[in-house]
């Protein structure tokens, strides 16, 4: 079917929402609670749009398109509405952007900028929270920055399936927490990080990144997770000392922006003090450090000698399901073309 958004004639299929069609066509409608992985929640109201012939604005994430629909997404009245929405969220938010580790990567901050929220006009009572929850090694929970978009709750329930967190109380006292407010380590939390990946504010943040660097100072590099065979694409966020500060992900990949505990929180082994940093040669039962020259000479001498004396089949190699394709290729080529044996295998069977 055809419809019009901001004067642009677009093609859509039945059942799609206005937000989906807009995103497909590169039209940016603000949103805080939306995720393509979730059933539409309509909690944050930021995606309000005008439809011709409809009196009141509707939320784009919950409204399905219909043929001939004419939609406007950024009229002066919609902008004003969004500005008020951001102001209301900020009125019950710990606005500490100057030192917040989320700054620079915070959707709430982005929308405050976009709609010129300079000052919160609705000063008043704030929900009382007993500070930051620090009950696990991976992330902190800071309810003072939660805007109740429910994204974390919905991801935990609809994608992870565990429903470890939920809403407690109603109205002004509503908050996201665990059953009986128990620490995450004592309940069924899998520490997959889905909630942390998608939190639009600083309410959920990786512990490893706190007080390390501003988001814009971090270098991002794309990689593939080294753990299981799913092949999740991840972004390593690196500080100026080449330390992995946190792991994030975007949605355009096999994992669709999702992670498990190992990929999200288990890559810090890269910077471990225990890494091997120098070649080692064993002498009289003990290792000593050696130069690359010496170590490689020793390996080459021994493999060459054994090959020449006993034939290539007296040598063998275990290649690795952890190494790259290129390295596996070279290892089997090394054994076959250089050593003259097909005895190369790896732990596929184990």
């Amino acid at each position: 079917m055809k419809l019009t958004i901001n004067g642009e004639k677009l093609e859509a299929t039945e059942g799609q929402t206005i937000l989906e069609v807009a995103q497909e066509n590169g039209i940016d409608i603000p949103n805080l609670c939306y995720s393509p992985e979730l059933k539409p929640e309509g909690a944050c109201r930021m995606c309000v749009v005008d439809i011709e012939g409809v009196a009141d604005p509707v939320t784009a994430c919950t409204t399905e398109v219909s043929a001939g629909m004419v939609v406007e997404t950024e009229t002066p009245s919609l902008k004003k509405m969004r500005k008020v929405l951001v102001e209301l969220m900020l009125a019950n938010h710990d606005v500490e952007c100057l030192t917040c580790d989320k700054a620079g990567d915070c959707k709430l901050q982005d929308y405050a900028y976009r709609y010129s929220v300079k000052k919160v006009r609705f000063e008043g009572e704030k929900t009382e929270f007993k500070g930051i929850k620090d009950d696990n090694p991976f992330f902190i929970r800071d309810n003072r920055k939660c805007i109740l978009c429910y994204k974390c709750v919905n991801l935990c329930k609809q994608v992870q399936g565990e429903a470890s967190i939920n809403l407690e109380n109603r109205g002004f006292d509503t908050r996201v927490t665990t059953a009986f407010d128990l620490p995450l380590e004592e309940i069924n939390c899998q520490f997959c990080g889905l909630c942390v990946n998608e939190c639009p504010t600083g309410a959920l943040m990786e512990k490893s990144a706190l007080r390390k660097a501003r988001n814009w100072e971090l270098k991002k590099g794309s990689t593939i997770c080294p753990y299981c065979g799913v092949g999740c694409e991840l972004e390593l966020n690196i500080d100026e000392n080449d330390q992995i500060v946190k792991v994030t992900t975007n949605s355009d990949n096999v994992n669709r922006g999702q992670t498990c505990v190992k990929g999200k929180f288990g890559l810090d082994f890269v910077n471990s003090e225990e890494r091997l940093t120098k070649p080692l040669i064993k002498e009289e039962g003990r290792f000593r450090e050696a130069s690359w020259e010496e170590a490689l000479d020793k390996v080459a001498d021994n493999f060459g000698r054994i090959r020449d004396e006993f034939g290539g089949d007296a040598t063998a190699a275990l290649s690795s399901a952890k190494c790259t394709n290129e390295e596996n290729y070279l290892m089997q080529k090394f054994m076959r073309a250089v050593m003259g044996t097909n005895s190369v295998d790896h732990c596929a069977r184990l």
Binding site: I224, L236, E274, K282, L296, S320, A321, K322, L330, Q332
Partner: protein, 537 residues
């Protein structure tokens, strides 16, 4: 993999990971998906929300059981009996896809012959799964328009592993569930690049792209490409290599990024071999239990410190970028290999990983269309034979890789080792959520270590009460190969008579206990069943 290659002509996941969500029925067997492949488990859970039926077959009450419509709690090592039982019912109740069988497959007669005696009552006796559940499962799977099977090491790590896979392939073909979107046979690969290591010929019988080393044409092709004479004799597998060392036939061993002391069965035997081998070089990112035995240890760069590609479980070749400089003096494995080759009289001259991929594309047809330029943004799924090919989302569309799909039904054979008076319990092994393989990586991640820092062997309440064991007690677990100590957790995840250990921890190394008895074809050890005794220590 040998099983799927024989049945279909290609040993890999038939479908893409995203396709799981579109299946009408999912049969998960021998895969603890939520712990070993959590992101794939998200797809299974989503499928369930979309209305798909979920059948889980596992001796343990794994987490996925919570989401299942049907849980078949089979005895360990009875997979073929269970699969045959399902096929018996599918044939009996006429849930077959006759047109598909006739048009796309061969050797169906063999299935009819073998399945006849596997009636649900007989299968219930072998597997412990109630006959009515076998019938229900057969209908759930057989009546689905698109049914997908997910399996992992719980199927392959048995002496009957290849036959298990052949039987899975039979079940899928019987109902016409291979070669279409969302439906298929999907082995979940346990390591990030186990698919790639196989694809690129880190196997003793094939060159890159599964081209047999004993095929004359292939040998000629690679001899020409590499400019050397090549051996046409199939080499040794991992387990055979260690036997070869013991017999003094293998004198030099190169271990790159592996830790066989913990990952291989019968660890004590591996340690003896490593002690004995004349020259051992180990290349890794950390000092490992295996590296302790080395004559030379070479420091390797980690995944974050190099360019390269990994091939995931769905055959997708994906690029990783160098994000940081190599730690210390460590070097990429490919650079180390090149320096060694050149010291041994060769003239390798690769200036980048991308150049190596170009050579791979020239010699292995399934990677023929892969280049760094093409996969910069998004990976490509093999087969991808040329630079214009878009890659392959699911395999065997219209025709199997080998032409006709081949039914190779199997008879049930009990596991190599059964519990007896001396070793009355069955031990099965696997992974845990917070750790990976031998913990070379996860053990060096403080957060993961904090979550799970020592082995907790799972034991049933009935067994624990009889031995007067409580949560957290230490026990001595012994088998015919050796003994280890472990703490226990008393849980309903395992039934009476069965205990479960992961193989992550050197202190409670499950593989000291496991049985090195091999599947005769795939040479995979029987990690999933061995007989043990347990005493309070």
């Amino acid at each position: 993999m040998a099983g799927l290659a024989k049945s279909f002509g290609s040993g890999a996941m038939t479908n893409s990971i995203d396709e799981i969500e579109g299946a009408d029925a999912i049969f998960v067997t021998g895969s603890n998906t939520t712990e070993a492949h959590p992101v794939i488990a998200y797809r299974v859970k989503k499928a369930k929300q979309n209305g798909s039926k979920l059948i889980v077959a596992d001796p343990r009450k794994i987490d996925l059981v919570k989401y299942a419509d049907l849980w078949l709690q089979q005895k360990p090592g009875t997979d073929i009996a269970l699969l045959n039982g399902l096929m018996h019912v599918i044939i009996r109740d006429d849930l077959l896809d006759k047109k598909y069988i006739q048009k796309r497959t061969e050797n169906f007669e063999a299935v009819e012959d073998i399945m006849e005696k596997y009636d649900p009552e007989h299968v219930a006796e072998i597997t412990g799964v109630p006959a009515e559940d076998i019938v229900k499962a057969a209908h759930m799977y057989g009546e689905a328009e698109r049914a997908s099977i997910l399996y992992a090491m719980g199927i392959t790590q048995h002496t009957s592993g290849t036959d298990n896979v052949l039987s899975i392939a039979c079940l899928a073909m019987l109902t016409g569930n291979v070669g279409k979107e969302n439906a298929g046979v999907n082995p979940l690969r346990g390591q990030n690049n186990v698919q790639g290591a196989c694809d690129l010929g880190a196997l003793p019988n094939v060159y890159p792209g599964y081209q047999a080393v004993d095929d004359e044409e292939v040998n000629k092709k690679f001899s020409e490409a590499w400019g050397v004479e090549l051996s046409d004799e199939v080499g040794l597998t991992v387990t055979e290599i260690f036997d070869g060392i013991e017999e003094d036939e293998v004198k030099a061993l190169y271990v790159m990024g592996e830790n066989p002391v913990l990952s291989d069965p019968d660890s004590n035997h591996i340690r003896e071999a490593l002690e004995q081998v004349e020259f051992l070089v180990v290349q890794d990112i950390f000092m490992s239990d295996t590296a302790e035995y080395a004559d030379v240890v070479l420091p390797a760069a980690s995944f974050a410190e190099k360019d390269g590609t990994f091939t995931n479980s769905e055959r997708k070749v994906q690029k990783l970028d160098q994000v940081i400089e190599p730690i210390g003096e460590s070097k990429s494995d490919w650079e180390i290999l090149m320096e060694l080759a050149n010291r041994l009289g060769h003239d390798w001259d690769y200036s980048s990983a991308s150049e190596i991929m170009d050579e791979i594309a020239r010699v292995s047809p399934i990677y023929g269309g892969i280049s760094y330029e093409r996969i910069e943004e998004e990976g490509l799924q093999w087969p991808c034979p040329d630079y214009d090919h878009p890659g392959t989302k699911y395999l065997h569309k219209g025709e199997f890789s080998r032409g006709l799909g081949q039914f190779n039904p199997a008879e049930y054979i009990p596991p190599a080792e059964k519990p007896d008076e001396d070793y009355p319990y069955v031990l099965t092994t696997g992974r845990r959520l917070f750790h990976f393989h031998t913990r070379t990586m996860s053990g060096n991640s403080p957060g993961l270590e904090e979550q799970y820092s020592e082995e907790l062997m799972e034991i049933s309440l009935a067994d624990a009460q009889r031995m007067e064991i409580e949560d957290g007690d230490r026990v001595l677990v012994s088998s015919r190969r050796g003994e280890v100590e472990s703490k226990v957790t008393v849980t309903d995840r395992v039934p009476e008579g069965l205990v479960f250990m992961s193989f992550h921890f050197a202190e409670s190394a499950a593989n000291v206990l496991t049985n090195p008895a091999l599947d005769p074809v795939a040479k995979i050890p029987e990690y999933k069943v061995c007989a043990v005794n347990i005493e309070k220590s």
